[in-house]
C-alpha cells in the first residue's frame, strides 16, 4: 500500500515536471524595445537659417527616398523594394531611414519632385547622400538577440555628392546633430534646402 502511494507521487511529480517544462514561455522581443535604430533626418529652410540662424522646418516637395541598391524581393515576377521608406512621394519635413549593419557606409537617393514619365524614366532632382559611420553590435536579450548602434564619423559622417544641381543646400551645409545613433526619438541629421 505504502509503496503504491509513493509510485502515485512519482506519477504526479513526473506529470507536473513535464507540464511545467513544456509550457515554457516563448520569449518575444517586445514591441517598443529600443533595437537597431533608424537614422532620423529633419529638413529645414536654408534661406531662413542664412538670414536669422533659426531652424524652421520646411517640408520637401514630393520627396522620394530610397537606398542605393536596396533590398528587393521578386513578388509575382516583379522586383519589389522591401520596407519602402515611403508609400508614395510626398512632402515631408522628417524622415527615418535604416543604415546598413554589415557595412560602414550607406548611400541614399533623395529625389525631389519625384515622378515617372510615360516611358518610366525618373523625373525630378536626385541628390545622393552617403552616411559614413562606425558600428557596434550589442547583445540585448534572448528574444531580441543582437542589435547595432552607429556612430556617425565626425568629419565625413554625412557626405552630399555634388552634381552641379543639388536641391540640398551646401551652404548652410548638412549638420550632424547627434553623432551617436542609438535612439530614434531624437534627430540625428539636419538637412537645409
Amino acid at each position: 500500500m505504502n509503496r503504491l502511494s509513493f509510485l502515485g507521487i512519482f506519477a504526479i511529480l513526473t506529470i507536473t515536471a513535464l507540464v511545467s517544462l513544456s509550457c515554457e514561455r516563448d520569449d518575444i522581443c517586445v514591441e517598443g524595445t529600443l533595437t537597431t535604430p533608424l537614422l532620423v533626418i529633419e529638413f529645414f529652410d536654408a534661406e531662413i537659417f542664412t538670414n536669422t540662424t533659426e531652424d524652421v522646418l520646411k517640408p520637401t516637395s514630393d520627396l522620394w527616398v530610397e537606398a542605393v541598391d536596396p533590398n528587393t524581393v521578386i513578388d509575382n515576377g516583379v522586383e519589389v523594394i522591401v520596407d519602402p521608406i515611403q508609400g508614395e512621394p510626398q512632402a515631408v519635413s522628417t524622415i527615418s531611414i535604416p543604415l546598413r549593419t554589415a557595412q560602414d557606409a550607406t548611400e541614399y537617393r533623395f529625389i525631389k519632385d519625384y515622378a515617372l514619365d510615360e516611358d518610366g524614366n525618373q523625373l525630378g532632382n536626385e541628390d545622393i547622400i552617403t552616411f559614413n559611420y562606425s558600428r557596434e553590435e550589442i547583445f540585448l536579450s534572448r528574444a531580441c538577440g543582437f542589435i547595432t548602434n552607429y556612430t556617425l564619423n565626425e568629419t565625413d559622417g554625412v557626405v552630399l555628392t555634388t552634381d552641379g544641381d543639388t536641391w540640398i543646400s551646401s551652404n548652410p551645409a548638412i549638420v550632424i546633430e547627434n553623432t551617436i545613433v542609438e535612439d530614434e526619438t531624437v534627430t540625428h541629421v539636419k538637412i537645409y534646402h
Binding site: F6, L13, T36, A67, D83, F139, S141, A143
Partner: protein
C-alpha cells in the same frame, strides 16, 4: 507570466504535502516486538539521474549526465551532492548557441517522512549550493532590424562561432522530492528544484542563457527550475542503536 510559473511550483509542492498526509494514514502497523537491540543504518546512496539520458533520447541537441549521492548524517538529515556535465544547443529566432560544462551541487536533505523502523523512504525538502564552470559558443546571430529596406535576413545573419570560455555560475536551489525503496537497497527518487541565480561570470557582450545544472536562464530574471529522476543503490556504511523515545518507554 512569472506568477503563473510560481503557481506551478506551489501547486507541485502542495501535491507533495497532500500526498504525505494520505500516506501517513495508510501506514500499516507492522512493527515487531523484537528483543534484539534496534539498529538504524546510516547508508550512502549513490545513483544516476535518469532524466538526462531520457532527454538525450528525446532531444537531438542535448547531452548530459548526473551522479547523485546522499549520506545519512542524523535521523532526519542527509548530506547530499549532485555533479555532472551538460551540453545543450539552443536555437532561438535571433540566436543559436551551445553551452557546455560541468556542475556540482552540495547541500542537505531533510526527511519529513516518519518511516517505520529500518525503512529509508523519504519525502524530502532540502537546499543546495550550485556551481558551474562552462563555455558558451555563439553559433549564429541575427541583428534585430525591424526595417529591412537596406538589408534582408541573409545579410543580417552572421555565423561568428565565437567561443566564450571560463564562464561560471553560482546559485541556490530549493529541493522538494521523494525517495522510495523499490527493491532491496534500490531507491528511486524524484525531485523538483527551484533555483535562484546568485552570481555569474558573463560572456562579454553576450549572456549566460543556459547554465549546466541550473538550466535555462531568462533575461531580466534570475529564477530557474529543474528536476531529476534518480535511481540509486544504498550501501550501508554503519549502524547504530536507535535511541528510544520517551513516549515509547511510557507505552511499554
Amino acid at each position: 507570466m512569472k506568477p503563473l510559473h510560481m503557481l506551478k511550483y506551489i501547486t507541485s509542492l502542495l501535491a507533495i504535502l497532500i500526498c504525505s498526509v494520505s500516506f501517513a494514514q495508510d501506514a500499516e502497523v507492522t512493527a515487531a516486538n523484537d528483543t534484539l537491540p534496534e539498529l538504524e543504518t546510516f547508508p550512502l546512496r549513490i545513483g544516476v539521474d535518469l532524466s538526462k539520458p531520457i532527454r538525450m533520447a528525446l532531444e537531438d541537441d542535448y547531452q548530459g549526465f548526473e551522479i547523485a549521492a546522499d549520506f545519512r548524517v542524523t535521523n532526519k538529515f542527509y548530506a547530499a551532492i549532485e555533479f555532472g556535465n551538460e551540453q545543450k544547443t539552443v536555437d532561438e529566432t535571433q540566436i543559436n548557441f551551445t553551452t557546455e560544462g560541468s556542475f556540482i551541487k552540495v547541500g542537505f536533505d531533510f526527511n519529513a517522512y516518519e518511516n517505520w523502523f529500518g525503512m529509508q523512504n523519504a519525502i524530502i525538502v532540502g537546499m543546495r549550493y550550485g556551481y558551474s564552470t562552462h563555455k558558451q559558443t555563439l553559433n549564429r546571430s541575427t541583428i534585430y532590424q525591424t526595417n529591412q529596406h537596406t538589408e534582408g535576413e541573409s545579410l543580417l545573419t552572421q555565423e561568428p562561432g565565437t567561443e566564450f570560455s571560463s564562464l561560471n555560475g553560482h546559485w541556490i536551489e530549493v529541493v522538494a522530492g521523494i525517495k522510495v525503496e523499490v527493491y532491496d537497497n534500490i531507491y528511486m527518487g524524484f525531485s523538483l528544484r527551484l533555483n535562484r541565480l546568485l552570481s555569474t561570470k558573463e560572456p562579454e557582450n553576450f549572456q549566460n542563457l543556459f547554465i549546466p545544472g541550473f538550466n535555462k536562464v531568462t533575461t531580466d530574471n534570475n529564477v530557474g527550475a529543474g528536476f531529476n529522476y534518480t535511481i540509486s543503490y544504498s550501501i550501508p556504511i554503519y549502524k547504530k542503536a536507535k535511541k528510544k523515545k520517551v513516549e515509547d518507554d511510557i507505552e511499554e
